[in-house]
């Protein structure tokens, strides 16, 4: 499994005096949808940011596609970065650029300057995230919350990534929008054969999307495996997280989306 998309070994993180991660080992196999779950403050988003190199862990190593994240020359690191796309929690669209310019931005950056080609590519990406072509000229401030996420997803897909990282993809969306978004991600996952890592605490999303679940608690990966296996693990945190009344209802709903 030398070229699996993400490999985390012995990762430790400390903020000041607080230990967030105390030795995390995680291997994300290609083609899976892995959900990172955990209580608030358990360092899910931190782990996600470390996977893409936005934060450096205090100890341990992260490998992307079989190579250490920070290994090699600048060009090689850049090359590695272009193989994944990230969807930030609030979209992080460039507010000064139109939707078209936002999605075209990474493409222009790698040197695709042909205007007609760019327009076709952007149109294709917008269609992939089920947006109409006429949102292309709007500014991010003129979009609704759900549209912002879709445009951000289109931008994350612009460079044809093999790996997609989603930080709270459905947070702040109403149930209808959020199930639409889940369907969209699942369709893209099937169509493009992506590996997806998502952070979420929305159990609907989790049940509908994840092929594997990694439970993060007390600074460690408590359990990693398919949802049904996780449900059977005897642990107070998992008990509380997955077996509450609301949790059961949400999981059933999520499965129903399948």
């Amino acid at each position: 499994m030398s070229d699996c998309p993400i490999q985390v070994q012995g990762l430790e993180t400390r903020f000041g005096q607080t230990w967030v991660h105390r030795g995390i080992d995680l291997v994300v196999p290609a083609g899976e949808v892995v959900a990172l779950v955990g209580g608030s403050g358990s360092g899910k988003t931190t782990l996600l940011r470390q996977m893409v190199g936005l934060l450096r862990p205090n100890a341990g190593a992260v490998s992307l596609f079989g190579e250490p994240l920070f290994a090699g020359s600048r060009a090689e690191q850049l090359e590695r970065r272009r193989r994944f796309g990230m969807l930030f929690q609030h979209g992080a669209l460039f507010s000064a650029l139109s939707v078209f310019a936002n999605v075209a931005f990474p493409l222009r950056e790698i040197g695709i300057a042909d205007d007609a080609m760019l327009r076709d590519l952007v149109q294709l990406k917008l269609a992939m995230v089920e947006l109409d072509a006429d949102v292309a000229l709007r500014m991010p401030a003129e979009l609704s919350g759900g549209m912002v996420k879709r445009v951000a997803l289109a931008r994350a897909l612009a460079l044809e990534p093999e790996l997609l990282l989603l930080d709270e993809p459905t947070a702040g969306l109403d149930p209808d929008l959020s199930s639409g978004f889940v369907r969209l991600i699942r369709a893209l996952h099937r169509a493009l054969g992506l590996t997806v890592v998502l952070v979420t605490h929305d159990l609907d999303t989790l049940a509908a999307l994840a092929t594997r679940v990694a439970v993060l608690a007390e600074g460690r990966i408590l359990a990693f495996g398919p949802l049904d296996e996780i449900m059977n693990v005897q642990d107070p945190f998992i008990e509380r997280f997955f077996h509450g009344e609301r949790a059961r209802a949400a999981l059933a709903r999520g499965r129903g989306m399948g």
Partner: protein
């Protein structure tokens, strides 16, 4: 243990029995296509319309690769296409797309220039109206505050006073001192030629106290505190903090604008006094070195050369400038829309407008007070 490299995209032309065939193989993905894109595009162009395409050997195809082929096929499947089932969905998606294309952004037309001038005019008009509305709202909220004996934003005002007044003292002193030195040095060169050394006190005293001090300090404060106020209120607008205040029934004008306006108005008079004093001190030092004018003489001659009315005018101007700078800064801050471009545009507009307004109002002051405090 580096992973194995992926097969690079290859295009091969075959001609067996007259029918030309184009055989593609390797990974047709953005990552592998991009380094050699121009050469591949040129090769694709060589294929003629009667070519049969064979994609059987393509190991991977992403939407970029598919689009590249789609475009070279003229947005339709060429006759005699050999397409393995696993690649079918990508092209199905492209076919669905149709050829409607994205809406075009309108280009620049000849009359757009004229329209732009009109827009600027109306924008200025809107700004003027909006500015008056801001003052009106402020007065209404202030009256309401007086009437209901509500919560006075004393703490905010005091904090703002410290921020815009006390914290501005070092930079004001530095710039004032240097301007004083330069002004004194240049004047001394001229005055010595006429043997009118002692008039340096009149020139510096009148010039700095009445005119230069207030304007200099106002320009510094507009750049330093005006821009900070606009950016702060602007970001609060972006993060919906202002809406949060309004939703709690707290007037953002009373809580945010009023303390800033009051603090800057109050701070500007002492700050002007401070700036003018340091500038005069700089002039005094320079005069002492250049013209051998003693500090004693300078200090004693100053009240005789400059009637006290000038000091009142100078400090009064300072306070008015402070009021205007704060109002302009808050006005533009409240106009910020939730994007970075608007924030930068409004901060720029705030500084430029407040400096322009300061100089305009200074001219008005010069005319209005032309018969006060000037020796005849």
């Amino acid at each position: 243990m580096s992973p194995e490299p992926r097969p690079i995209p290859v295009i091969r032309f075959e001609r067996e029995g007259g029918a030309p065939r184009v055989v593609l193989s390797g990974d047709w993905t953005l990552r592998l296509l991009q380094p050699d894109l121009d050469a591949l595009e040129r090769q694709l162009e060589q294929a003629t319309a009667d070519c049969a395409w064979d994609l059987e050997a393509v190991s991977r195809l992403d939407s970029f690769g598919a689009l590249l082929l789609w475009r070279s096929w003229g947005r339709q499947r060429p006759p005699g296409l050999v397409l393995p089932d696993r690649l079918e969905p990508v092209f199905a998606r492209l076919a669905e797309l149709g050829d409607s294309g994205l809406p075009l952004e309108r280009g620049y037309r000849f009359l757009d220039g004229t329209e732009g001038v009109g827009r600027i005019f109306f924008k200025m008009l809107r700004n003027a109206v909006g500015f008056v509305a801001l003052i009106g709202q402020l007065v209404i909220d202030f009256a309401h505050l007086l009437h209901t004996r509500g919560h006075w934003p004393v703490l905010e005002t005091s904090a703002n006073f410290y921020k815009v007044g006390v914290r501005a003292m070092p930079v004001t002193a530095l710039v004032g001192f240097l301007i004083g030195v330069v002004l004194s040095y240049l004047s001394a060169l001229q005055l010595r030629a006429f043997g009118a050394d002692v008039f340096i006190v009149n020139i510096l005293g009148l010039g700095i106290i009445r005119e230069l001090g207030p304007v200099l300090v106002a320009v510094l404060v507009a750049g330093r505190s005006g821009s900070a106020m606009t950016a702060q209120i602007g970001v609060m607008r972006v993060t919906e903090e202002i809406d949060a205040l309004a939703a709690m029934g707290i007037s953002p004008y009373v809580r945010l604008v009023l303390p800033k306006v009051v603090a800057l108005t109050l701070a500007m008079a002492p700050l002007t006094l401070w700036g003018s004093a340091v500038a005069l001190f700089g002039g005094m030092v320079s005069a002492n070195l250049q013209l051998d004018l003693s500090f004693d003489y300078f200090v004693n001659a100053l009240p005789r050369a400059v009637p006290v009315a000038n000091l009142v005018i100078g400090l009064g101007k300072g306070a008015v400038f402070g009021l205007l700078i704060a109002l302009v800064a808050c006005y533009f801050g409240l106009r910020v829309k939730p994007n970075t471009e608007s924030l930068s545009a409004n901060t720029t507009a705030s500084v430029v407008t407040s400096i322009t307004v300061v100089i305009l109002v200074d001219a008005v002051f010069a005319i209005a007070t032309r018969s006060i405090g000037l020796p005849r």
